[in-house]
């Protein structure tokens, strides 16, 4: 057509152009009319706080989610993937957090998986092997194509997956936090791979919380905030970390923290030198009646701290709770008076196919029994009591936990912990997927519990949450506590973001 717009002509030059992309969830607009372009053969970084909408965009790009409205185009051609496989066929490969390589096969077998040349089911020689080996050698010559994948490190497996995407003709490869499980040397190696990819006609979309990586690797950057597109510009034009952080934050974070009265200096939990596969020398203490926050981005090690204290994961180091030694299992932790609200509510916290009343007493089930016999009537009383106390919106205590909203489900999980008479609550992402109303109710509840002398640890990737409710906040990055801040005073948000994105902090 004659009326080819300037935009369309322009779009043909672009590896990917996104126009007015919007994704609505019930009650939330996760991505709001986002438009930007990605140049060919660049490393394009996507940054933003948790909840800025990055992962929703990634899901739409990989075909895992369908946009509510808006469009995407690859080299000017409309791109509407309906599955990850479909996206692959359109030339968009993805490096997922969960690796999709087959450990039991060799590197070469993995690289050709699903693309084999065959006659009557027999594998036949073709130029495919030569081609994929060349691709692999071009991006990482040290991996032996004949090696079994099970003998490779996580970093090498990632590279195999990248090579597979590249050799299956992907023109765009999306990498979502690819360095989360890598050592420094491995990160360097991965960066080398990414640069060589870029030089061999592949566009990389790189998502990371680690801003240093962005500056080291990226050509262009797109900043997202609250589901909106803030800016897309060459990293060369960005004036260092401060400018990037400023774009990510953009506004003062509103929080209604009210300093609580002085808390007696009686540490109930003392942790020294906690170390495991992810944690590095984590030490801190928590006082009775105190609300302590752990803030960090995905993969910083928050959940691991919670699980180690709770005895759910192994770790070295000392944990002392009220003079008792560390718990070897959740059972022991509960007996000592520690309760955990786990990260994944539906799979770790709740029994979704059981009624509300059956869920509530689980952590302290023997309390409702005399001589091993369960007191059904008392269970109902307890359930009614907690449903009333926590304002769980339901018309019956017999309703399956499955059928409750996220906020009410979380209140059921909290009821479990309260019924366990815990002196210390570990709350891992306590308000994830919870609507605003239920959120503030949960915060009120947490404050009440602390005022009654309970020690509370909140592990959260929402800055507003920890600043809204915690007395002290530990900033985590890369398995370490990087800094501790006291809430209530002037909180320096750019400083916080700088620390949790790897900008270093005053190590205690």
């Amino acid at each position: 057509m004659i009326v080819q717009t300037a935009f369309a002509a322009n779009a043909q030059e672009k590896a990917l152009s996104i126009r007015d992309l919007t994704k609505d969830y019930p009650g939330v607009r996760a991505v709001d009319a986002v438009s930007f372009d990605i140049d060919r053969n660049t490393v394009h970084c996507l940054v933003g706080e948790n909840g800025a909408g990055k992962s929703t965009i990634v899901k739409m790009l990989t075909g895992a989610l369908a946009p509510t409205s808006g469009s995407m185009a690859i080299l000017g051609r409309t791109y509407e993937p309906d599955s990850t496989q479909d996206a692959r066929e359109s030339g968009v490969g993805t490096l997922f957090q969960e690796l999709h390589v087959v450990d039991q096969l060799t590197v070469l077998e993995n690289l050709t998986l699903g693309m084999e040349a065959s006659r009557f089911g027999f594998l036949v020689k073709s130029d495919l092997e030569g081609r994929v080996v060349k691709t692999l050698a071009a991006i990482e010559p040290t991996i032996d194509p004949k090696a079994r994948v099970s003998s490779l490190s996580v970093a090498q497996k990632q590279i195999v997956e990248i090579a597979r995407a590249a050799s299956s003709g992907a023109s765009i490869i999306i990498m979502d936090e690819p360095t989360a499980a890598l050592s420094e040397r491995e990160v360097e190696r991965l960066f080398g791979v990414i640069r060589r990819l870029r030089d061999s006609d592949v566009t990389v979309i790189y998502i990371s919380h680690k801003l240093d990586e962005i500056f080291e690797l990226g050509d262009n950057v797109t900043v997202m905030r609250d589901g909106k597109h803030i800016a897309t510009k060459p990293l060369a034009d960005v004036n260092g970390r401060p400018e990037l952080i400023e774009m990510m934050v953009g506004r003062a974070i509103t929080h209604d923290y009210e300093p609580r009265g002085d808390i007696a200096d009686n540490p109930v939990l003392t942790v020294k030198g906690l170390t495991n596969h992810l944690l590095k020398d984590v030490s801190f203490h928590v006082k009775g009646g105190e609300i302590v926050g752990f803030y960090g981005l995905v993969g910083a090690g928050k959940t691991e701290v919670a699980r180690a204290i709770y005895g759910a994961d192994k770790a070295d180091g000392q944990i002392d709770f009220k003079g008792r030694k560390r718990a070897a299992s959740p059972k022991e932790a509960i007996a000592a008076g520690i309760a955990l609200v786990p990260e994944e509510r539906r799979t770790q916290g709740l029994f979704t196919e059981l009624a509300i009343r059956r869920n509530i007493p689980i952590m302290n089930i023997r309390k409702l029994a005399s001589f091993g016999v369960f007191q059904d009537e008392r269970e109902k009383e307890v359930a009614r009591e907690y449903v009333g106390k926590l304002g769980i919106a339901t018309n019956s205590i017999e309703k399956y936990a499955e059928k409750l909203s996220g906020g009410n489900q979380q209140k059921v999980v909290l009821s479990k912990c309260l019924f366990a008479d815990a002196d210390m609550l570990l709350l891992d992402e306590p308000t994830r997927g919870v609507d605003v109303g239920a959120k503030s109710e949960i915060y009120d509840l947490i404050r009440d519990l602390a005022n009654n002398g309970r020690a509370i640890c909140i592990f959260s990737s929402e800055l507003e949450e920890v600043l809204g409710i915690c007395d002290r906040v530990f900033l985590m990055y890369d398995g370490r506590i990087q800094a501790e801040i006291k809430n209530g005073t002037e909180v320096d948000i750019p400083h916080i973001l700088n620390v949790v994105t790897g900008g270093g902090g005053e190590n205690k």
Binding site: E98, H100, E109, G121, F122, S153
Partner: protein
């Protein structure tokens, strides 16, 4: 951090070597022990000579069914699925084959028809597991009962098996397939087992099927994302196991000269045993057809050889113990792998 340029330690190399070759060492050990043991208590063997020609032929002849079955069963377990109905499928095939033979159907059509029955039985398993989404264990327990039930129904009331009598007579050729030596004194049944095993080795190493089986069992999500039709792969594997069960049934039936509806009882256990012994992981993904074949040789040498050392009633105990030990060692090996 692991460094790929680092050369493996001697200990690691030894471990690797043991992992790759232990099955052959075990076979040699078993043969040595049985060859040096005092075997004259049992008429099957000549005095003190396990490795006599007659004895080897005997063992290989009775081993034909499990040798036939081990390869396909390995591929199925590599794909992460299981078939508990193989014993019953084998019994049913044995009965069908004998029934056809005794009613005057010549060897080749009877043979082919029975193999077709095997295809059908395997396809039913595949259908229940893949299309109706019944858990493999339960689906194949159902068909275990079903196939065995049909086999029993095919045999007249009051008779224990299809055999000569009541006016019908087994044809003279019936025995030949399972007993008469054609090459090196070994019968067709054995050579078919060898052919099947070679075919399965080729399928594992040279065909898409083997690779897709490993991918399906090793990382189903990755397999699907790579565009592999895992459902089709699994159905094909069930059909292959069905065919091999039918071949095993023919071998057993011919060897025993009758169509016994109970002749395959317990075969699923032997199959699981030899496959686990051969190092196939029950979690899927890993395993070698050839090693299962060797595993079958070991078990058959042991069970037959054992008859000379201890009474027959020790057999169940030994097989049960071996199954538990194989499962345990299999587990320990795979755990070490994932930890390192």
């Amino acid at each position: 951090m692991t460094d790929l340029t680092q050369s493996p330690q001697f200990g690691d190399r030894l471990k690797r070597f043991l992992k790759d070759y232990y099955i052959y060492l075990v076979l040699i050990l078993v043969v040595v022990v049985l060859s040096t043991a005092n075997l004259d208590k049992f008429p099957l063997f000549e005095r003190g000579n396990f490795l006599s020609e007659r004895n080897i032929i005997n063992i290989l002849r009775v081993s034909a069914p499990i040798l036939t079955l081990a390869g396909a069963f390995t591929l199925l377990m590599i794909s992460g699925y299981i078939d508990l109905s193989v014993g019953s499928a084998m019994s049913l095939s044995a009965v069908v084959y004998a029934l056809l033979a005794i009613n005057g159907v010549p060897f080749v059509p009877a043979f082919l028809a029975t193999v077709l029955v095997g295809v059908l039985l395997g396809a039913i398993n595949g259908f229940l597991v893949i299309r109706l989404k019944i858990t493999p264990v339960i689906a194949t327990l159902i068909t275990l009962s079903l196939y065995k039930g049909i086999a029993l129904l095919l045999v007249e009331d009051g008779v224990s098996a299809i055999k000569s009598g009541g006016g019908l007579k087994m044809p003279g050729w019936f025995n030949d397939y399972g007993r008469d030596g054609v090459f090196f004194g070994l019968p067709w049944a054995f050579w078919v087992a060898i052919l099947v095993t070679i075919a399965m080795i080729v399928a594992q190493d040279r065909m898409k099927l083997g690779k897709y089986a490993a991918a399906t069992g090793g990382n189903p999500m990755a397999a699907k994302l790579s565009g592999i039709d895992t459902a089709r792969t699994v159905i094909i594997l069930y059909v292959l196991v069905g065919i091999c069960a039918a071949l095993a049934g023919i071998a057993r039936s011919s060897f025993m000269s009758l169509g016994d509806p109970l002749s395959g009882d317990g075969m699923e256990l032997t199959a699981i045993l030899v496959v686990l012994l051969g190092g196939t992981a029950f979690s899927g993904g890993e395993g070698r057809v050839l090693k299962s074949f060797i595993g079958a040789l070991i078990i058959m040498s042991l069970t037959v050889g054992m008859l000379t050392l201890v009474p027959a009633y020790f057999q169940t105990l030994v097989v049960g113990t071996a199954l538990l030990l194989a499962a345990a060692s299999n587990h320990l090996v795979s755990r070490k792998d994932s930890e390192s």
